[in-house]
Structure formats: structure tokens, C-alpha cells
């Protein structure tokens, strides 16, 4: 137990010092700049490959993955608009009830 406790104390000191060093290093433009460039290059490559696949797919008259996503998104938007209308109708009904009660 004493051995473990001593090791743990030493580890905590090392971890704290290393974390501070690494955190400062990660924030350095020397890391952020190349990191961002690498990620961007990978993403542009993926977009180019996806675009080529989509072109081939749509050339034979089939809907691409993007087409399907757009259609599904439009359906989701319609669902939200319908719920908006339901809410508006419920409000109008409540107002009408209130007006009728006031008149009575």
C-alpha cells in the first residue's frame, strides 16, 4: 500500500506537469496550423471521391445519397410546419373558448 501510494503521488505530479506542457504545445500555431491543413486536405479528398461517385450514380438516372438526404430533410421540415399549424389552431380554439366564456 505504501509503495502504491508513493507511486500514485509521483504519478500525479508527473501527470500534472506533462499535461500542462502538452496543453501549451497543443495550443501552439506549430501544431494547430499543420493539424488544420491535414484535416482540410483529408476532407477535400473525401468530398472529391463522394462527388465522383455521385456523378456516376446520377449519370445512370438514380437519386444520389444527397438527393435522398434533401428529400428526407424536406419531409422533416413539413412535419415541423404541421406541428406549428396544430399549435396555432390550438391557440385560436383556446381564444375562441375564452371569448365565448366572457360573452356568456
Amino acid at each position: 500500500m505504501i509503495g502504491w501510494d508513493s507511486w500514485k503521488k509521483g504519478f500525479d505530479v508527473w501527470e500534472n506537469a506533462t499535461a500542462k506542457y502538452l496543453e501549451a504545445w497543443m495550443r501552439s500555431p506549430l501544431v494547430l496550423g499543420p493539424g488544420g491543413a491535414l484535416l482540410t486536405a483529408a476532407m477535400r479528398s473525401k468530398t472529391a471521391v463522394d462527388g465522383a461517385m455521385d456523378s456516376w450514380w446520377s449519370a445512370v438516372g438514380l437519386p444520389t445519397r444527397r438527393d435522398q438526404e434533401r428529400a428526407l430533410h424536406a419531409l422533416n421540415q413539413m412535419q415541423s410546419r404541421l406541428i406549428d399549424l396544430e399549435e396555432t389552431l390550438a391557440e385560436i380554439r383556446a381564444q375562441q373558448k375564452q371569448q365565448a366564456a366572457t360573452k356568456a
Binding site: 494547430l32 499543420p34 488544420g36 484535416l39 476532407m43 468530398t47 428526407l72 422533416n76 412535419q79 415541423s80
Partner: protein
């Protein structure tokens, strides 16, 4: 417990770790009262003696984390504790965005979905208003919404919610780095993969996995600690991707342009001005939060016009300080008391217009299915 007994228990627990049952998370009984696209609004079932306050409470978690961080485990659940104190508690479960949600805009989420959640929760109370509590990004969404549409908000409570984005933190520097092409990333991935975001969070403390491992070995004798640790790890590894268009607006409008501080951000075409927030507001910041540093969350209280506003600064980190046993004993009773002080006299109780769509019973997934899915057992989500 003696040192020898601790040592023996430690080794027994470490050796049995593989066979340790998966933690049951999100087990407080709740009903789904609204469902739209992938998100749903849950209402926790009231305590047997009923609700004690006229104003319900709506919890808004971050978009990229599961909601059950606020309902982690029985006996360690914020939702459970608030229900026990007599609050009528609602929570937004953002769900998992599908590939088509890459087109989902920040306005649709913050104005449309969050607005709906607030209205549904508000109509269940006696005031037509609800207390709104936002945690992390959920707090930012709540702040943006409250600045533009305050009608149904009785009070605003934000925990570690960033509003000022031009700090010297890694995330802020990374998103403003000239070589990081946001458009290229969203064009390629659609929704921003959670793995990418989790990687970025891990860069905030690169030694964290090692530190966690050493801490687990150190405390392996404590079964209660292990249960909490594994529940939290289950949550921490169960993230969701960020809808692409919403992410683009979030990074460009908030991180890069610092739109809330510079008053350039808009919601559905209306300017988001923090000075328009006049409702009672409580902001909680944490001293050791490396995800949302104090300087990122603290300016809210200075900028808003509310006369009734308060900032509480506590020790602890982004997650631990919110869900720890200490937080359950101190932070949450304080927040509950603050809500109680801002509660109104119950008026004619408005009957819920929206019937529960589904009842959610605590249920543990069958073992075989759970193994196949290799996911934490979320009682509510599985029952749904």
C-alpha cells in the same frame, strides 16, 4: 476499511472488471410528451405526493451529449433529486441526427425545437411559463432563445454555458485557425462526427486517459466509486454527431465572430442581444472547467438587463462539479431553492394539452441484446 481489506477488494474488483454488469443509466421514470424529427421531450413522473410548484422546470442538455447525464444513476440523478423536491421536470432528448439532418439549421434547433419544448413544458404549469436550465451548449442555446423569445421563460439557469468565444482555450484557437476549413469538413462529413469532436475534447487534457486509469486502480476498492465511474464513462462514450449546417453557424457565428459579445448573431433573422434578457437569471461557472473556461461563461451576467441575476462560481470541472454527490448535496438544492423563490402562486392549473405519446418504464435490456449492441443500458431510451 483497513488497508489490507482495501487491497484485497481492489484486486478482486480489478480482476472482475470485465464481468462487471453494465451500469443502468437514465432510469428515472419518464413519459414522452412530444416527439419531432429525432428529438423528444420527456417529462419525469411526479413524486407520489404530487408537484409542489406552479412552474415546471425544463432541462436542456448539450446537443452533442446524451441527456441522461442529468439522470445518470439511481441515487446519483439530478432529475430524480429535483422530482423528489417537488418539481415538475422536463428534459430535452436531442436524439441521434440522421444523415439528412446535415441540413438542419441552428435556427431550426434553437428557435423551432427548443421553442416548442419550452412552450409544451410551459403549458403544463399554472403560469404559462417554465424555468429553463441549460447545461454547456444547451445553456448557450437557452441564452440565445431567451434573448429573442422570452415569452414563456420564467427564469434562466445556465451551467457552464459559453457566451464569449474569443478566449485562449484550445477549442477557440483551433476553430479560429486559418488552416481549418470548416466548409470542407461539413461538405465531406455532413454531420460533424462525434469521434472528431471527442478527439478534440481529449486534446484539452491529453494525459486524461492515463490519469483516469491510475485513479481507477487507486479507488478500485470502492464499489460505489466504480459504479459512478463506469456510468460516467458509458455516458462519455455515447455521444452524438453535430448536425452540419447547425455546426457551421455555431462555429462561424459564435466561435469565429463571437456574435453574442459583438451583438452580430441572429436567430431566425432577429438580432440576439444579451441585454434583452430580463428574466431572473442564475449562471454557474466552474473553476477547473477546461471545456468552458470561466472567462467564456462569466460575461453573461454582466451583459444581461435582468435586475435579479446571480453568478455562482464553484470549484470543480465541467462534468464532475455538476453530477457529483457533492453537487447533489449542495449545488442542486441551491438551484431548487432559487426556483422555489421564483415560483408563482399556483393559478388555475392548465391541464396538459399534449397527452403522453409513450410511457417510459425503467427497464434493463436483455443481456444478449445489450452485448450485441455494446452500448450502455439506458432504461428510458430502450423502453422507448
Amino acid at each position: 476499511m483497513t488497508d489490507a481489506a482495501k487491497g484485497e477488494r481492489r484486486w478482486r474488483n480489478l480482476l472482475g472488471m470485465v464481468k462487471r454488469p453494465k451500469p443502468v443509466v437514465g432510469a428515472t421514470p419518464a413519459d414522452v410528451v412530444h416527439r419531432e424529427n429525432k428529438w423528444s421531450l420527456l417529462r419525469y413522473r411526479a413524486r407520489p405526493e404530487g408537484v409542489a410548484f406552479a412552474t415546471p422546470v425544463l432541462l436542456v442538455p448539450s446537443l452533442i451529449n446524451r441527456h441522461y447525464v442529468l439522470d445518470l444513476q439511481p441515487g446519483r440523478s439530478i432529475a430524480e433529486a429535483l422530482v423528489a423536491r417537488g418539481h415538475d421536470v422536463f428534459i430535452v432528448d436531442w436524439g441521434t441526427p440522421g444523415p439528412e439532418d446535415r441540413h438542419l439549421s441552428f435556427d431550426a434547433i434553437t428557435d423551432g425545437y427548443l421553442g416548442r419544448a419550452i412552450r409544451v413544458a410551459a403549458q403544463h404549469g399554472g403560469r404559462g411559463k417554465t424555468h429553463v436550465l441549460g447545461y454547456c451548449l444547451g445553456g448557450t442555446l437557452a441564452v440565445v432563445h431567451a434573448a429573442v423569445r422570452p415569452e414563456h421563460i420564467a427564469s434562466l439557469t445556465v451551467l457552464a454555458a459559453p457566451v464569449s468565444f474569443h478566449d485562449e482555450g484550445l477549442l477557440s484557437l483551433w476553430t479560429r485557425s486559418s488552416t481549418f476549413d470548416l466548409g470542407a469538413m461539413i461538405d465531406a462529413t455532413g454531420n460533424v462526427p462525434w469521434q472528431l469532436m471527442q478527439g478534440a475534447f481529449q486534446m484539452l487534457r491529453p494525459t486524461l486517459p492515463l490519469s483516469k486509469a491510475a485513479h481507477v486502480i487507486d479507488r478500485a476498492w470502492d464499489d460505489e466509486f466504480l459504479d459512478g465511474f463506469f456510468a460516467l464513462e458509458a455516458w462519455g462514450n455515447d455521444n452524438v454527431s453535430f448536425p452540419g449546417e447547425a455546426y457551421r453557424r455555431y462555429i462561424e457565428g459564435l466561435y469565429r465572430a463571437d456574435g453574442l459579445m459583438k451583438e452580430t448573431f441572429t436567430l431566425s433573422g432577429r438580432p440576439v442581444l444579451l441585454r434583452n434578457i430580463e428574466c431572473p437569471t442564475l449562471a454557474v461557472t466552474f473553476a477547473h472547467d477546461n471545456i468552458v473556461p470561466e472567462e467564456s461563461a462569466a460575461p453573461l451576467i454582466e451583459r444581461i438587463s435582468s435586475t435579479d441575476k446571480q453568478r455562482v462560481h464553484l470549484p470543480g470541472g465541467h462534468v464532475g462539479a455538476v453530477i457529483s454527490r457533492k453537487a447533489l448535496a449542495t449545488l442542486w438544492p441551491t438551484i431548487s431553492a432559487w426556483w422555489a423563490a421564483h415560483d408563482a402562486e399556483p393559478q388555475a392549473k392548465v391541464e396538459p394539452k399534449v397527452e403522453p405519446e409513450a410511457k417510459v418504464e425503467p427497464k434493463v435490456e436483455p443481456k444478449a441484446k445489450a452485448k450485441a449492441k455494446a452500448k450502455p443500458e439506458r432504461a428510458n431510451a430502450k423502453a422507448r
